[in-house]
């Protein structure tokens, strides 16, 4: 097992303590509720779109440090990205976490801040915690309001 500090890096602890963009967007049709059946964690992601560009992302709900930090960082990173760019980043993030793509320098660079979450690769049961917000965001982008699950 790796050092716990590699899983719970300071940035994760910080985002967990003070989640960014936490709250609801009232007047949007782009939202989805996501659910991790393994632990019962639930969160909702809200989006504002400007054309096909994401102008605002928020989330609310309760989850573990990994899921909260991942959601919080996601809201920062996706702001200003196009839907296609968001899809691409999620795809990359997901593939790295499940071990389909090697975490080399190039991938680390592409992931940016998200790279701090790659510690979960050593904890297979926690990968879903890191991807819950992202699955949910996909649902929100496609106006699939509920039933988003990590399963």
């Amino acid at each position: 097992m790796m050092d716990l500090r590699e899983l719970y890096q300071d940035l994760i602890v910080d985002h967990n303590k003070r989640p960014r963009n936490f709250g609801k967007i009232d007047d949007t049709t782009y939202y989805a509720e996501g659910f991790n059946p393994l632990c019962g964690d639930q969160l909702t992601v809200y989006l504002n779109l400007d054309g096909d560009r994401i102008s605002k992302v928020t989330f609310e709900g309760e989850g573990c440090a990994i899921s909260t930090a991942s959601a919080s960082m996601m809201t920062e990173i996706l702001t200003g990205k196009t839907m296609a760019e968001a899809d691409e980043l999620f795809e990359l993030f997901h593939q790295v976490l499940v071990g389909e793509i090697e975490l080399d320098d190039d991938t680390t660079l592409q992931l940016g801040k998200l790279a701090v979450l790659t510690g979960v690769r050593a904890y297979p049961s926690r990968v879903k915690c890191a991807t819950l917000a992202w699955h949910t965001c996909q649902g929100a982008l496609h106006k699939q309001h509920d039933g988003i699950s990590t399963e």
């Binding site: 097992m1 602890v13 303590k17 632990c39 964690d41 573990c64 990994i66 904890y123 926690r126």
Partner: protein
């Protein structure tokens, strides 16, 4: 030994002796001696059970109830001996009342499907409690939906207890079944099942007791309890996984239609009509978990040898010690503070999610459960998504509780 723990050398020696029966307890996890506090999920297996299962596969593996050769006869004898050991352990009147299943979940589904489909109709009611495990909710939900019967729920208070007045108020002549856990897996509450059974019987309702958590902690006697059905799993009482028991009163089982069809449950098969085997085989279609049934019998004899009274006494001291220590931790809230509790300490910590806690404790070699414990309505009652749960068995020690506390302090420090 921690000075605040109950320092009874004899009891320490006793626990050390018990621990020596369980080879896995010598395991190292992440560089630390294993502290196994997830007994509510499944218990560890003593060497005698492991040996019984190996012995079966090494020496007598064969199908049962049908072979004329020696191995089959030996296997049949060992498996049926396991059934007799179960009968003795739970005080059933006859082995006809002991149906082997895959576990508690299958036992409850058997009753819900066989008894429920034959007996429930629109207007009837099934009563469960708010603290039930999903496996004692969902089968009843499914059968009440199909029959038009109504599912009613006895609420819990904030300590995690039901009130007998509520039960009395909810039972009526429409109530056909009361399904209740004897010991809550999420809260540790011991329910007053005997009183509930009396009330239900007075109203003409049957009672199914979910004994999944209770069986390894509370002595039970079917004759004394007088429940109509009792369900438990072998793996929660030091037996193999994939084994379980449905106890049912003979007259009720006799009147119930089979649930699953197949080999072993039939007497004569004709395309026009088949007839059913005697009890308990009528409910045991297909080749069962033979090694498991044998292992379960051995596990129950092992527990009888240790004595459930001694087990309960040690676990009560352990739980009291753990509860006291846990409550000393700032920001910790126990979920489930019933007056009568056993084996389980469920809790939440401010600013620290149960899953993070589970991962941090794991890095210290401490196994707990983090999650909703298949009791989402309980989580909803307390307004939490998940709790951390330390669940004890008789082989746990006071110093293991101290290790848990050290781990919790480390977690708090990390996230504080």
């Amino acid at each position: 030994m921690n000075s605040t723990a109950v320092t009874d050398l004899n009891s320490d020696d006793q626990v050390a002796q018990w621990r020596a029966d369980f080879p896995i307890l010598k395991t190292q996890v992440n560089g630390h001696p294993l502290v196994y506090l997830d007994n509510g999920a499944t218990t560890q297996k003593p060497q005698v059970v492991i040996d019984a299962v190996s012995h079966y596969y090494e020496n007598t593996n064969s199908n049962i109830h049908r072979g004329v050769h020696q191995l089959s006869e030996l296997a049949t004898e060992a498996y049926e001996n396991g059934r007799e050991q179960v009968r003795r352990f739970i005080g059933a009147a006859s082995v006809k009342e002991v149906v082997f299943t895959r576990g508690t979940t299958e036992s409850i589904n058997l009753v819900a499907n066989s008894w429920g489909m034959a007996n429930l109709k629109a207007g009837d009611e099934v009563l469960v409690t708010e603290m039930e495990h999903h496996s004692n909710i969902v089968p009843w939900q499914m059968v009440t939906e199909r029959t038009g019967a109504l599912l009613k729920v006895v609420p819990i208070n904030d300590a995690g207890e039901i009130s007998l007045d509520d039960v009395r108020g909810l039972i009526s002549d429409r109530t056909k079944m009361v399904a209740i856990s004897q010991l809550s897996n999420a809260l540790g509450t011991i329910n007053p099942v005997k009183e509930v059974i009396e009330m239900a019987h007075q109203a003409g309702a049957l009672v199914l007791v979910d004994g999944a958590q209770a069986i390894a902690h509370i002595p039970v006697d079917m004759a004394d309890l007088d429940c109509d059905f009792y369900a438990f799993s072998g793996h929660k009482i030091f037996g193999p996984t994939g084994t379980g028991v449905l106890y049912g009163k003979e007259a009720l089982l006799e009147a119930m239609p089979p649930w699953q069809g197949g080999g072993d449950m039939i007497r004569i098969v004709r395309f026009e009509k088949s007839t059913w085997n005697d009890l308990p085989y009528k409910f045991e279609a297909g080749t069962p978990n033979i090694a498991g049934g044998i292992g379960l019998g051995v596990a129950l004899d092992y527990v009888s040898g240790v004595s459930l009274e001694k087990i309960a006494a040690h676990e009560t001291e352990l739980l009291n010690y753990a509860s006291r220590k846990l409550q000393e931790l700032p920001g910790l809230k126990l979920i489930g503070t019933a007056k009568h509790r056993a084996s389980i300490a469920s809790f939440v910590l401010d600013q620290l999610h149960a899953h993070d806690l589970g991962t941090i404790l794991d890095s210290e070699g401490i196994a707990i459960r983090a999650g909703h414990h298949c009791a989402m309505p309980v989580m909803q009652h307390y307004g939490v998504a998940a709790t951390a749960r330390a669940s004890f068995a008789f082989y746990n020690t006071f110093s293991e509780v101290d290790r848990l506390m050290d781990g919790l302090n480390k977690a708090v420090e990390m996230f504080g």
